[in-house]
Symmetry: C2
Subunit: 207 residues, 2 copies
Amino acid sequence: MITSSSSLRRSERSRRATLEAALALCTEKGYGRVTIEAIAARAGVSKKTIYRWWPSKSAVILEAFTEALVDATPFVDTGDIAADLRTHVSGAVNLLATAPFGPAYAGILSEVHHDDELAETVRTQLIEPRFAQAVDRLRRAQEQGQIPPDANLPLAVEMLYGPVYYRHVLRKPVQDEATIAALVAHVLCSLRASATDAGRMREPIVG
Amino acid sequence: MITSSSSLRRSERSRRATLEAALALCTEKGYGRVTIEAIAARAGVSKKTIYRWWPSKSAVILEAFTEALVDATPFVDTGDIAADLRTHVSGAVNLLATAPFGPAYAGILSEVHHDDELAETVRTQLIEPRFAQAVDRLRRAQEQGQIPPDANLPLAVEMLYGPVYYRHVLRKPVQDEATIAALVAHVLCSLRASATDAGRMREPIVG
């Protein structure tokens, strides 16, 4: 038992050292010039150890980015869905505006289109769990009567995250707090739309 | 005069041949394996000619993609802003779902983060003109009373385009027609939000 738990501790220490080395190297060299060799040397672990846990450099950096994103974008519940979504989206925007996280995520996304295994890992380990948690947070607000009962919650999440991705991949200036507040207010307001709204919108809505 | 116009025609023929060769090679080999040499050979023009007009392979493919996007995503004005936005967004979604255009644009985006000149070209030749045209189309709808006079039009455009980018860069299944219709309806509905709405949203809006 003692051996097993000290071995687990050693494993966790190596894992953390690997993730920290990967991020430090992203800062110093840029995502494109990071190698598994350099990560191993910096972390003081063997390449074999790294390849036992991760299939590629991108997978190491993805795990480090995911941990940072989870820390930076909590799904708090203060009972005020607008305030909580502003907190959440601001966390994501600020992380993406910070090196090495923003450039590292851009590097990961740039490999998603030609690395099927990485694409699957991004979806299953990062996107889908966060998306589900965002829908859950909206559902709690719905139960509290802050969002209409027939609201399209997955669409709301895409409308919140979409503009953040849009600016990040195009390297446009990131959203400031006022823009994030406007985005959140608009997405919440949009949830008053329903299937029949598509028809109603064809009529002039102002005099 | 005759010489000059026939020289222009020859130039335009070479330009078209270059763009078509670039797209054909993207289809056959994938964006990552296309080279200026291969484009020149396929188009029957010299490398020197290509480099006189474009600084890089990405710039050639960007121009080919931009022409296809402009054709695929007209800003029609039938007097029905919801229908016209559905037409516009569907055009973009369908183009991105089609090879070589979707993978080619993913390839361009993957280089935007480490190629400053390409990033600037993407913004000035593709993103900013299209964004401005989208805002103009919304402004005409506003003048026709289909959108509130105080609506945040640039935010609306980001809410329309953002989810399309989100799915494209993450290789999620593209939006179907029903989802595009819901997105457009929600974005138009969201424009009823105003600065004061951010405050109002804190109160329960359903019983």
